[in-house]
Subunit: 353 residues, 2 copies
DNA sequence: CTGAAAGCGCTTACAG
DNA sequence: CTGAAAGCGCTTACAG
């Protein structure tokens, strides 16, 4: 394939027999330039379909107008809606989005972070992998002068802007709903105990249980990784005994989906045999089988706000005096998956939402 | 925020009191260089955490090692899995992925294409918007020397590599399944009639009907845009009469999801009142309510293969003699949403898959 | 108002 | 083996 050829300022200069400085000036704000030559130059530029080479610009002013995004999995409902929000805001501000995935692995997250730095992104948005226990790699990139904003899975150990949902309150409300619906044998399936998101959701769960005088079985707080087989094993273990939970509260969508599949394979009905609920966004849960009670997170808005904070950091000359954490409200969407006890659920209700 | 500072070749040269040429040579293949100075330089480079500025490299050899991807909506199951496949392959080959969305609008697709060109991506992957009727913008970018590979929604009017699924066969097989399951009043909901994907799926549908001597009602071939209200209206119109379809075949997932919601709102059971099936990928359909019969597309593989073809075009010195279209096989996943008639479906079967 | 020059970070012939 | 020079495309003081 031939080398791409884009017309340059030089091409225009030659065609018009003027210097490249003049062309450059004509194409910029247009000060210090004869009105006629300016028009002439702009005419030719348009005609030749000239667009300035951002590579050359980047080299001069050390800005790429690109922001990096590191997520766990692009092909994950939560991630892709957040990315959509990021792209939406970034695009409006003239930034493009470079995407990388950690696949829930710390090593990949580290490599992706370094890659973003070496790519000279103007800033980085990141949601941590399930394996991440320290954030030195992020401190490193911040020291290089690349601002970082965290979203969703954030870390207390990094001083920067963060965008999260009110994980504690969301978990509290959902748990309260379960208890008020008559479920008192609730298991909590969650991810790495080193993540703030895990701790906050767990705390919301525990506090709601305490507030309602519901006893928590410690064996029913299950920390999972993202390996399908392991998840499957944990779910089976939890449900096989005679004394088993009557409700499952999954802290992330991946676990919820795994439960739907596993319960079905085990021949257990939702919510007839076991109720199921979790954190999710609103694009999917109404369509699931059964429609799923969940804490709805405003994923698109999370992406937009994270992008806004990052671009503010990039474009502000001075370091902010202090960093802020935006904590978005969640809402509780009550659907069929937790309705068996409270409303005398039966399968005929399945389509009422 | 301070200007990012990355260490340069010059920093290393100064520290070691050698010329930048020497440093450059030491850091490259290492020919024409004294072994000791080479080690010295590489040591300092490592110590200073040096990574070459890709911007500078790009300026010289006119390669950015970035490929552009234009999809309709990132936050769409089909798109995000394809992107994941693209990212997977690109990453392995040392390319990064810049993402943009058309939101199903031609103008946005045009703008995104121009943006990608102005960003100097080494190549472009694109799936067309629902409004796209001609591809001059793609011919334009190809003429500039930027190779383009199309996937999913491709156009016959562009001579380049393409990656699609066998839309015709998939639609034929699904239709045959419907008919063999006893449905003969089948409506086909699809998108823009100008897209090849629409035409091929429609043809598969029509040919299967003909092969089975099933009459097609032309009013039941419905072309939709991506506006929620319009889709809703079309679905209502289709189902309100006394003589209504007993099965809906949706050509894309967005329409399938809309049908699930709309049918539920209308109080119609799937498949009890109306069967439902469509094109999808396998990440979602088993979890839907009801589990959905669908033509499964290998989305991740589509992304990988499209990326591979594009990178081949980028890295090959010579234009290929001819372009190829990779047509991946689909598979038919039969689930509850089309089981009412054939198997004496009842709601108790809902969890058997 | 216009052009020559320097510089962003790097590579690569070209002298020595 | 090493360094000075030119050049990728652009901008921006600096002369004129």
């Amino acid at each position: 394939m031939s080398i791409p050829h884009h017309v340059t300022i030089k091409d225009i200069a030659q065609q018009l027999k003027v210097s490249i400085s003049t062309v450059s000036r004509a194409l910029r704000c247009g000060t210090d330039i004869n009105e006629e030559t300016r028009k002439l130059i702009q005419g030719v530029a348009k005609e030749l379909n000239y667009s300035p080479n951002p590579i050359a610009l980047s080299l001069k002013d050390k800005k790429t107008k690109v922001i990096g995004v590191i997520v766990q999995e692009i092909a994950n409902n939560y991630c892709s809606s957040t990315i959509a929000g990021i792209e939406d805001y970034a695009c409006k501000k003239g930034y493009n989005v470079l995407i990388s995935q950690s696949h829930e692995k710390f090593d990949a997250e580290l490599a992706a972070t370094r890659l973003m730095a070496s790519r000279r992104v103007d800033g980085l948005l990141i949601s941590l992998s399930n394996e991440t226990r320290q954030v030195d790699h992020l401190k490193e990139i911040i020291e290089m002068g690349v601002p970082v904003v965290m979203f969703d899975r954030v870390s207390d150990n990094l001083d920067t802007h963060k965008v999260v949902v009110d994980d504690y309150q969301g978990a509290f409300d959902l748990t309260a709903h379960l208890i008020e619906s008559g479920y008192e044998q609730i298991a909590h399936l969650t991810i790495s105990k080193h993540l703030a998101i895990t701790q906050n959701r767990l705390k919301g769960f525990l506090d709601a249980c305490k507030a309602h005088n519901v006893k928590v079985n410690n064996d029913w707080i299950v920390y999972c990784d993202f390996n399908g087989r392991n998840i499957r094993k944990e779910i089976r273990k939890l449900l096989k005994g005679s004394h088993r939970p009557d409700a499952l509260f999954c802290s992330v969508e991946r676990l919820t989906m795994a439960c739907i599949k596993e319960l079905r394979d085990m021949g257990l009905r939702i919510p007839g045999d076991v109720a199921l609920a979790g954190f999710s966004d609103n694009t999917l849960t109404p369509y699931l089988n059964p429609p799923l009670t969940s804490v709805i997170q405003p994923t698109f808005a999370i992406g937009q706000k994270a992008a806004r904070l990052l671009i503010e950091l990039i474009e502000n000359k001075t370091m902010p005096i202090s960093f802020k954490t935006i904590r978005l409200k969640t809402s509780l969407s009550i659907q069929d998956s937790t309705r068996a006890l409270a409303t005398g659920w039966n399968e005929g209700d399945m389509y009422d939402s």
